[in-house]
Amino acid sequence: MKITEEDVTYVAGLARLSLTPEELQTMTGQMDAILDYVDKLNELNTDDIVPTAHAVPMANAFRADQVRPSIGVTSALANAPQEVDNCFQVPRVIE
């Protein structure tokens, strides 16, 4: 086993997920299987391959520095569960 239940609990915490004991067990098994599968890559010789940051062999897609219309505050807040004074309202964040 490469992945332990502690690893999964830790990652779930970072992702703000809470898992039942059953889910924890299932996820641990699944993640372990995924890493096993990825390990197959180690069978390849990658000595002369530069680290790949992107799957497409392209670079440099730019836009010019031009302002384009925004969508407006009504649209921006259309999906906000709560809004106050044109702002999204969220549970109070401790400073």
């Binding site: 836009r63 505050v73 921006a76 964040v93």
Partner: protein, 478 residues
């Protein structure tokens, strides 16, 4: 006791760029607009929206890198920095982690009571800003995403500074450079140039660094100095009392002048950086770098040096005149029209700076333009007017926008150099002050000042002081 410890400071500066639009979308970056009015699917982090890099941000990064002696990376990539906070709609910040655009630069700092020193710059990378949180509502916190996706450069220094004074000298120089380059407006109150300081102390002679605290919320040079001084003292006291500094983030409270632990909010940071699949790698060719290098303005340090070496100005003048680009440009325009750098410098640092401060205008809006001021200086040097009258002419030009020659002609300010006219005035002065004349002739030499003053007054300041002196001496010794 405290001198047993050496302070070690490294700085992270966030430079907000002056582009018109955001780093990955076309929304405006204008400051102070109504909340969430400058947002779109990209900066709101709506599903499916794709970021596209603003080329001007790359130009700004290359400019800043070159001006701080960095190596510009031919290949760099963007990464996602993952964390949850309400001001970060996507759940990650697009930044650069491995392969930033600039690395291995330096700045040479100097200053009064500071030894010259080179401060290393580890890296400069591009990233997006987060939104703004407002905490004053009763029910919760409010999120304004206008600032989300605003372009930033993060400039990370080496831990090379050993005092608050060195840190301030480094920051001021970096500030001066980004403002000179025009990549940042430098407004610290609005957060366009903000700084986090990593501060630690160690006994002198110890090679490894002490445990550092990161101090945030430093938005003025004064606060940065206060925060560093406070932090150094706090850490030394802690160690002296047998305690240990803990690695943590601390917030500076400008009202109380202290730093406070943010431990409540602190959790294990695990940002899980990985290359952002939405953005292509960035390749910067030598030709691109060369083009930007060729268009770089002369920087403050180079100007200062040139003013001293080529124009023969004192170090103080050179540093005042080169501190801000518009002032330097005013001065240079003046010298181009009147080739007496020291006289130009005296007038710019004296009358011009004084008047713009008094009238609360910027140098660019100074009604006495370099052309108009050059007109005054010419009339001083050809003895048409005295330095004192010239100041009157200056304020008249400020009011009216007329040329020096027009004002001199209109007001009849031309210096009296006609000896006949001066003789008549001198006669009157001598006749009116027999006692002083007797005392002077009796050996009280310093009364000469009194006579010159009387003649100048009688001529309403228009007499040529050198000539008055000469004529008075001849007459009184007779």
């Amino acid at each position: 006791m405290k001198t047993r410890y050496e302070t070690v400071i490294g700085l992270e500066v966030h430079v907000q760029l002056t582009t018109a639009s955001k780093i990955f979308c076309g929304c405006s970056t204008a400051f102070g607009q109504s909340p969430n009015s400058q947002t779109c699917p990209v900066c709101l982090g709506l599903p499916g929206a794709l970021p596209v890099l603003n080329q001007e941000v790359v130009n700004a990064a290359i400019k800043t890198g070159l001006a701080t002696n960095c190596r510009i990376a031919p290949y760099s990539i963007f990464a996602r920095k993952n964390y949850f906070y309400p001001d970060l709609p996507k759940g990650y910040q697009i930044s650069q982690f491995e392969l930033p655009i600039c690395e291995q630069g330096w700045l040479d700092i100097s200053g009064e009571e500071l030894a010259d020193k080179r401060v290393g710059i580890t890296r400069i990378h591009m990233e997006e800003d987060a939104g703004k949180l407002l905490h004053d509502s009763a029910g919760g916190s409010l999120v304004d995403l206008n600032r989300a996706c605003t372009p930033l450069l993060e400039v990370v220094s080496e831990p090379d500074m050993r005092s608050a004074a060195e840190a301030i000298a480094y920051l001021k120089q970096l500030h001066q450079i980004v403002v000179y380059l025009g990549v940042c407006d430098g407004n610290m109150e609005e957060g366009s140039f903000r700084c986090d300081a990593n501060v630690s102390v160690r006994p002198f002679g110890q090679t490894e660094f002490g445990i550092r605290a990161e101090v945030k919320n430093l938005n003025s040079f004064r606060f940065i100095k206060q925060a560093i001084d406070y932090e150094v003292e706090r850490q030394i006291e802690l160690i002296e009392e047998g305690g240990k500094v803990v690695q943590e983030t601390r917030l500076f409270d400008p009202d109380a002048g202290v730093t406070r632990s943010m431990r409540g909010k602190e959790q294990a940071h695990d940002y899980r950086y990985f290359p952002d699949p939405d953005l292509l790698p960035l390749e910067v060719s030598d030709a691109w770098i060369a083009e930007i290098r060729a268009a770089l303005p002369e920087l403050p340090t180079q100007k200062r040096q040139r003013y001293e070496e080529e124009l023969g100005l004192p170090a103080y003048d050179a540093s005042v005149l080169s501190a801000e680009r518009p002032l330097a440009e005013y001065f240079e325009a003046l010298v181009a029209r009147h080739n007496n750098p020291k006289l130009c410098s005296n007038w710019v640092m004296g009358e011009v700076l004084g008047a713009i401060k008094e009238n609360d205008v910027t140098i660019s809006a100074c009604p006495v333009t370099p052309e108009l001021l050059a007109g005054i200086l010419q009339r001083i040097e050809d003895n048409t007017i005295s330095g004192k009258i010239a100041k009157t002419v200056f304020s008249d030009i400020w009011q009216t926008g007329k040329s020096a020659d027009e004002i001199i002609a209109e007001k009849g300010l031309k210096q009296v150099t006609d000896t006949g006219a001066l003789d008549a005035i001198i006669d009157e002065v001598i006749a009116a002050n027999p006692t002083e004349v007797a005392e002077y002739r009796g050996g009280k030499d310093k009364l000469m000042g009194f006579f010159v003053g009387q003649v100048m007054k009688a001529s309403k300041g228009k007499a040529n002081p050198g000539l008055v002196n000469k004529l008075l001496k001849e007459r009184l010794s007779a």
